[in-house]
Symmetry: C2
Subunit: 276 residues, 2 copies
Amino acid sequence: MASSPVSKLLRAPTDGFALSGVDAGGTPGVKSKKTARAETEAIAEPLFGLQERLYAERERSVLIVLQGMDTSGKDGAVKRAVGSLNPAGVRITAFKAPTDAEKRLGFLGRIRRELPGPGEIAVFNRSHYEDVGIVRVHGWASPAVIERRYADINRFEEEVAKSGTTIIKCFLHISFEEQRERLLARLDDPAKHWKFNPKDLDERALWSDYMAAYEIAIDRCNTDRAPWYVVPADHKWYRDWALTNLLRETMDRLDPQYPKPRLNLRALRKRLGETA
Amino acid sequence: MASSPVSKLLRAPTDGFALSGVDAGGTPGVKSKKTARAETEAIAEPLFGLQERLYAERERSVLIVLQGMDTSGKDGAVKRAVGSLNPAGVRITAFKAPTDAEKRLGFLGRIRRELPGPGEIAVFNRSHYEDVGIVRVHGWASPAVIERRYADINRFEEEVAKSGTTIIKCFLHISFEEQRERLLARLDDPAKHWKFNPKDLDERALWSDYMAAYEIAIDRCNTDRAPWYVVPADHKWYRDWALTNLLRETMDRLDPQYPKPRLNLRALRKRLGETA
């Protein structure tokens, strides 16, 4: 376990956030891969128990928002950090480019539909932050529209949080160099070619624009009710460790409890005996 | 691995099915708990690989329908047999009593909305079979309406199968005596009280009516495109072994393949090198 809560170590500062200040290869809170893997594994069981209580309680919920450049490990994070939970209480949504029907709902419309229900843990693989990310980078919306969206997002997330959903927003931060390695690795492995879209290289060429867009989004939409965490993600083992810890710390704070229905145990046992 | 495919061992016969002929405590295909647990665990890795290919292929899908009496282990089956898959490609729906809005969709309407998308594995925890199960037992629909539903279900499942979804319907078969033990165990454990609904005992009192309703449903809706498997479920380890094997055999038959996009590897590598 980290000596300082991971949610503290990785929380983006609210007084002027600069992405350049975060080392994508850093491993704050844990020193070695071996320790991190062991700690990640050790968290699986208590996390499973916490999730069961959240599910049983059926009141509150958790929403994990994952953002990051291609190959930053959003899919891997889902597999590793969420893979050990009970799938019955998990709801994962990967947001792609919006369809025409989705566009008509407004940029938050399709997001709203996938929010977690009571007792659920939802994971968004990409999210409404694409609408101030890729959209900003390519100028697909006017500056005035994008400007309004930050306020819309803050209002939306505030409302979601108030309704009982704890929001954890994670930016998986990889370096330009690490992305190159990962893209090259995909090219080297025929089983990974399906993940490779040559157009991803066009987006890669806009790297600094993306970093700027994320920096602004994280700076503008980083509230205590819907905080941003910047997760150094060059090391996959660190990413998994950080996400698992963030979820664990959140669940510990929520401290969900099994409902205690009033059951007449004696009468019920008697009735069960009689039906034998 | 079982010497005979599990899908053969557990398939409900199509020439007059009788539930009374199935021993809920049986373990066809595997002798000991130890062997079963080891085999179940050994399947996890190849299954994960098969799922990744199904997901990558994004053409076909799998739908697992779970039915069974209270405590028959539907939730446990989700946790164990599906828990080791990549959650990003899994979609689990627990169908409760239909809401008024759902009722207006017709009994198949809400089912349709939760069908798996291309590449997905969906699990229905209860399903449209409730509409010929509990509904039949309680007489909530007229005999004529229920009669029509069997044909509607067959048509619906045929259509789903034709669209590329392989359907695996499992009846988790527990004995009356085993249900008593499991209900008593819930009463003994305060952490399980939330799962206990005193009304479940009213349903238990209708046990033979339920068995009759399931027998008819399995008999009437047991096609090669949407077959029923009757899984002896008094032993949890057998239930997990059987479901994992059924899924594995299905995925083996589908034999999904990674897409092979035409990539100009040399040009892409060069471009990646240049952007360094």
